[in-house]
């Protein structure tokens, strides 16, 4: 089956998310759609899948114009989608998820189970149709998504950022599955912003930028060429930094355990040190305790035990206010939920943690002159692109929102800087800016902890790398550790020979 998109245009208000996009995908090929966060890839695919209606343009299958008023139409036409955020119902079993919406066609639950077994055997998935989704690891959940699409005899399969939640090894396995599907004659659209994956697997590459197709590329092109095509200018892919100069500042974490509401150890007996002047990156697949670890440092996890000392001062058990006052800067994982108040202006967001007393508050009321002067200064210093300090933060792009968070957190004297997924969902320009700020904090001589699920970012930023798996730290390794080793660690295997820590001799004795 050949899929053609012709002149697809989709507007949201004043924003044109897709501007006359043309795309052709043939049976038996993997067509990569490469673009930055916010370039309009997902919008395009939601138009294709019938979730959005295009304002202009046509979708053709084997030369015939299609009209999709909903996902049901798209599915019947043979289009399947593996969503970035899985469209699975956590409390349902695998078979029930496959069955949903196609009860008659599959012949009830028994038919759905049969279908799951059939497809699972064909691809060697080993999936139990009666397993509950919420009990399955994300890699397996993704396979259920694939089974869901294949059970509807999808001839065109769209993978929307499928590797974001996978370990490197799971990513390799997914690539093998995609190749197998291609060899069986499925047309595959692979949406990603990861150059490594594109170059490994693509038959054709279409690059889009700001909602427009900027051209086709070849997998033989270098990563730098692909990146500059994607961003529209020459891009420095590596983070510029000098060797670390360690200072005497230190944060020591000993035996930190965090329980969730039902008593599971989401952080399990974690111990490590970070010295001033170095960046410790916490790598690992999302959901292995990184969030809870950083929240425990800032004092937001009520069920935490163990010890966190910053330059000898115990932080564990203190309130968030006390932790902030001891000089901890914190960039939360989800800036729109935990980092900012969307309906507040930039100036108001910048003083969220400065509402107690001078100089921002005098005699119980906010000194607007001081606040606005502060905001105006930060607007320039952090290159926040906005109409002015009175712009509501919710209307800013992800990159500019993150700059507001950074401006607030880095705008006071710090003794420790913790950034959780600081570049998630940002465009390349903003990522470069965030990275430069992280390195600047490190060079100022304070300990820096960065949580990231992107291996490229971890390797680029870190002076040392701690890998988390199921709440525990698998190991703390030097930054030049091979990606293969890191990938294995992210799946829970300790590094071979458990190398001694290169910068911190006390590490081995800890815990």
């Amino acid at each position: 089956m050949t899929l053609e998109l012709k002149g697809i245009t989709k507007r949201f208000g004043a924003l044109t998310a897709n501007d006359h996009i043309d795309l052709e995908v043939n049976a038996g090929e993997i067509h990569c759609l490469l673009g930055e966060n916010g370039a309009g890839k997902s919008t395009l695919m939601n138009v294709l899948y019938g979730l959005y209606q295009a304002d202009e343009g046509q979708i053709l299958l084997d030369g015939e114009v299609q009209r999709f008023s909903g996902p049901g139409d798209a599915m019947r036409a043979g289009i399947g989608m593996v969503h970035q955020h899985f469209m699975l119902i956590p409390v349902f079993t695998v078979a029930e998820n496959v069955l949903l919406g196609h009860e008659k066609a599959l012949g009830g639950l028994a038919g759905a189970k049969q279908k799951v077994r059939e497809i699972s055997d064909r691809f060697g998935f080993h999936i139990d149709p009666d397993a509950k989704i919420e009990d399955l690891p994300v890699g397996v959940q993704q396979r259920v998504e694939i089974i869901k699409a294949l059970s509807q005899d999808a001839k065109v399969l769209v993978f929307d950022e499928p590797t974001a939640v996978l370990t490197p090894r799971e990513t390799d396995e997914l690539m093998a599955i995609m190749q197998q599907l291609r060899d069986e004659g499925t047309a595959i659209v692979f949406i990603t912003h990861k150059l490594r994956e594109v170059r490994a697997i693509a038959d054709r590459i279409t690059v889009i930028r700001l909602g427009k197709v900027v051209g086709e590329a070849s997998r033989e092109d270098s990563s730098n060429e692909l990146a500059s095509m994607m961003v529209g200018r020459a891009v420095e892919l590596t983070v510029q930094k000098s060797p670390p100069v360690l200072t005497d500042n230190v944060v020591e974490i000993r035996g930190l355990t965090v329980l969730d509401a039902i008593g599971q150890k989401v952080v399990n007996d974690v111990s490590f040190d970070v010295r001033g002047g170095e960046v410790l990156c916490i790598a690992g697949v999302q959901g292995n305790g990184q969030t809870e670890l950083t929240e425990a440092i800032i004092g937001m996890q009520p069920r935490a035990t163990g010890s966190i000392t910053l330059n000898g001062l115990e932080l564990q058990g203190k309130s968030v206010r006390e932790v902030l006052d001891s000089g901890v800067g914190f960039v939360p994982e989800d800036r729109t939920v935990d980092g900012l108040v969307g309906d507040f202006t930039i100036a108001e967001n910048l003083m969220l943690d400065r509402y107690r007393g001078e100089p921002f508050v005098k005699a119980g009321s906010i000194d607007r002159a001081v606040r606005d002067a502060f905001a105006t200064e930060k607007l320039g210093a952090f290159d926040i692109r906005a109409q002015g300090i009175d712009t509501r933060v919710g209307t800013l792009s992800g990159g500019n929102q993150q700059k507001v968070v950074l401006a607030r957190e880095l705008g006071r004297p710090l003794a420790l800087f913790v950034a959780s997924q600081p570049t998630r969902g940002l465009d390349v320009g903003s990522i470069e800016f965030v990275h430069s700020q992280v390195i600047a904090s490190r060079d100022a001589g304070i300990p820096v902890i960065v949580v990231s699920t992107e291996l490229d970012e971890v390797v680029g930023l870190a002076d040392r790398i701690a890998v988390m798996y199921r709440g525990g730290v698998v190991g703390v390794v030097p930054a030049d550790t091979s990606r293969d080793t890191l990938g294995l660690m992210m799946a829970g295997e300790p590094p071979a020979g458990a190398p001694a820590d290169p910068t911190d001799p006390s590490e081995g004795a800890a815990a």
Binding site: V91, G101, E103, H126, L136, Q264, R470
Partner: protein
Amino acid sequence: MTTQQPAEVQPSADERIDLERAVVKHWKAPISYAVLTVVSFILMVLLARDGLARLRLASGGDFFQIPDALLPVRATGIVVVVVLALLTAFSFWAAATVRKVGAWLPVVFGIVFVVGFLVWAGAGAMIPIPGLLFATVGLSVPLIFGAMGGVISERAGVVNIAIEAQLLGGAFTGAVVASATGSTIVGVVAAMVAAVLVSMVLAVFAIRYFVEQIIVGVVLNVLIAGLTNFFYSSVLTDNPALNSPDRLPRINIPVLENIPLIGPALFNQTVIVYAMYIIVPLIAWGLFKTTWGLRLRAIGEHPLAADTVGINVPRLRFWNVSLAGAVAGLGGAYFTLDSNGAFTREMTAGLGYIALAAVIFGQWHPIKATGAALLFGFASALQQTLGAIGSPVPSEFMLMLPYVITILAVAGFIGQSRPPAASGKPYRKQ
């Protein structure tokens, strides 16, 4: 076709994401048992009453007559307190050694406590147990119908605070229509239609206009209370003929009604109650075994996922909320066409909210919610029965009983329960 990866890299489906569990000791249950044991000790031993309590266990038409139980109050009190103390000790031991205790413990504890309390309160009097059970069923019926309406609606993702309005609207319409037409069955149908209309208002505002569901529900409750009060005082009081429906006939099921103890309570009822015996298991089966239930639960858990497989979420939600209204309407009809025989001001008296509590207590499961509703019904029946025999406990205290149980239940005393993930969240598409 080639399989391109070696077998050992396949994460098997058996590989569950189990994290190590910390040893967390839960003291909530044993402490509450201890409190109740102390209360029993004070009542039944320190404030013990003399004499005998007669528990009547038989009623007229039984196969065989169970003799009355004549219990010495003081001795029974001591035995009950000892048993409760032992159960409490066991509960503490289980908590200290982090053992799982089955549901038998709260059930046995509850029964022993209630028996002890009955004997104490009934010293020197006679307590008719069949009558108590009959009253329990009668008081539970509207709660169960209301709870079923709540279960359906919330499983579909719409919080149904308006159960109260559906019951009240159903009760009023049922009475008026049955009086006007002279047909009780038409009255029942009219009650269901009225409750469906109330539901549809909730559905339209919640689903089409994304209005906060709790607010719409509360507004509907106030609106229906106001409307029925207005029509009651302006129309019904002047035209009593419009408020004197025939009552549904009691239908005795032969043989079954003669079962000792429970026969008269369960099988000497009206068609509404018999309908309930069918509807509750039907909803339970439908929710978990049919396409209707699969889709219903899907839109209440993850509407976007349901949308991506071609399910029309708003439409399905709308019709299921309407269906929930129809079920609750039966409970409304019960007030005027079965238990009472005429409409009175705000006669549902907040039972819609108790039904909502039963939904939560019953963890959004039709059978468990029915059990919860029966428990609340029993508490009310106990209060009535003890009031009738002149119990030493002030009746105001007894009136509190159902609500105290409700508060404890809703406060999650019985354990954490997880609502449908998307309940109360409007589904918006770009």
